[in-house]
Amino acid sequence: MSGSLTTPAPRAAQPPVQRVVEVVGRRPVNAYVELSLAAPEIAERAVPGQFVAFAIGGPASALLLRRSIAISGTRDGVVTVVVAPHGPGSTWLAGLQVGERVDVVGPLGRPFPMPEPGVPALLVGGGYGAAALVGLAARLRDGGSAVAAVTGAASADRLCSVDELSALAEPVAVTTDDGSAGRPGRVTVAVEELIADAGVVYACGPMAMLRAVADAATAVGVPSYVAVEESMACGIGVCMTCVLPVVGEDGRTRFARSCTEGPVFGGDRVRFADVGTLPADVVGADAMGVVQS
């Protein structure tokens, strides 16, 4: 696709490790739980945008698949994550207590690509997705970028990392769908105002939000990078469950693995409208026989 605003995010410099680590901190944050893990080898390798994958429930667990969770911070050998208790896996994770041990693989996935030094950036986080942007905000500031942020959620209790982002970004706009905190409405109301000043946009949150933010950025010719959340069985690139249609540098669309080719993709490269379908122009679609819906 000539005229793309983004180049695919490059691989992380360092490979992941697998470790059984101790929970050294646990803190409820609104509707979420922030866990801190003593995981020096992961902490020293991790770059913003990456995630870790947890084994769930111990040796007698019926839940076989790891749960991927974005890294929200790394400091002094400690990795922090913000977990939203939802189904059985995340509920188990959120219930981990200080002193308990958990098997974790990471850091996984491709980091957010950094802009040229000084390029102003807009960060957009939805729900617990905002947590994944804290480390990025710090790194952008260190690189001399002006950083603005929008963080939104369905309601006040599902907002995340507002304080942390406020210490790093200016302005920080807060929106809630129900108006229970900040401006009522979706993040896009704030994004549309702030995008004019941005040279690059980063977003993490639910798919519908990523799509809206990416579209807004692309519409005004600003490159955007989004960290997607697809259902993942392995997190390390071997199962092919986590794919979505992404336009490559050659302009052709492939089913790309969100765990190893993402989770960070160029916002103008993800074919959001086609997620969950098999577009006829995806590489190899012609070999699938009757196209399934």
Partner: protein, 315 residues
Amino acid sequence: MTALETAVDMRTALGAAPIPSPVLTASGCSAFGRELEPFVDLTAIGAVVTKSVQLRPRSGRPTPRMAETPSGMLNSIGLQGPGIDGLLADELPWLAERGIRSFVSIAGTRVEDFAELAERLRGVPGVLGLEVNISCPNVESRGEVFACDPGAASDVVSAVRAAADPAHPVYAKLSPDVTDIVSVARAVAAAGADGLSMINTLLGLVIDPDTMRPVLGGVTGGLSGPAIRPVALRCVWQVHAALPDVPILGMGGIRTGLDALQFVLAGASAVSVGTAVFNDPSAPARIHAELAAALAERGFASLADAVGHAHRPNA
């Protein structure tokens, strides 16, 4: 890997091809090996069984492609992959350069597809042999799966055996979704299979209670993981009892060395680790070590001595 530290001789073979460890990956559960490099010394395991390849590149099915189930998962990937050209150009050389043995899984929807793939793989460096994934719909038989019909299954196997490199053992991968797996095993062995891989996934379905529709785009999918282990073991047991001389690559829910031991005792001379890799990417190496330790504890001098042991009344 503690292969060299334990007293047990862990060497085995796939057909006539010797391998230093009986633990392999399972097709479709370790892609083409690269992503496991940070977690496993791939040169030390038996082989990487590559994701089933077809003639042309395939996109695979739309998402969702999986559903977690109790002690297992359902998948419907649709054999996404680069096609034989991509495999030969990119994946097999990468493995060969590193001295990693590859056992190449091939798939198709026509007998000729399989034969052509076997032909293309003749003499390719690093390729140890072929696993024939016959759990594919046969386009010439109203989509009935090859593996569900002894006749169709043996047509594929004899075509592959004829086209393949004579140095490549040909393993036929059987489906458990049949009334009589022994008759399928017998047919493909007679058609020239040098060994049997068993089992492939069981056909399953999950309905999403929210959408109230099947979770998978393909409606049904393949069930794998520890949930199916007793079925897999039963298949290995039955086939080894009927055909004790046909080597078996056992798989289905292997998660620990003791799980692998069960397959060996039931008659498998090597095992593949599939879904467990998603839970624990270092599983193949760990399982090798655990199996070696378990054999040592039980007084076996070699893996070979344990193969089929559970069938021998006074052993």
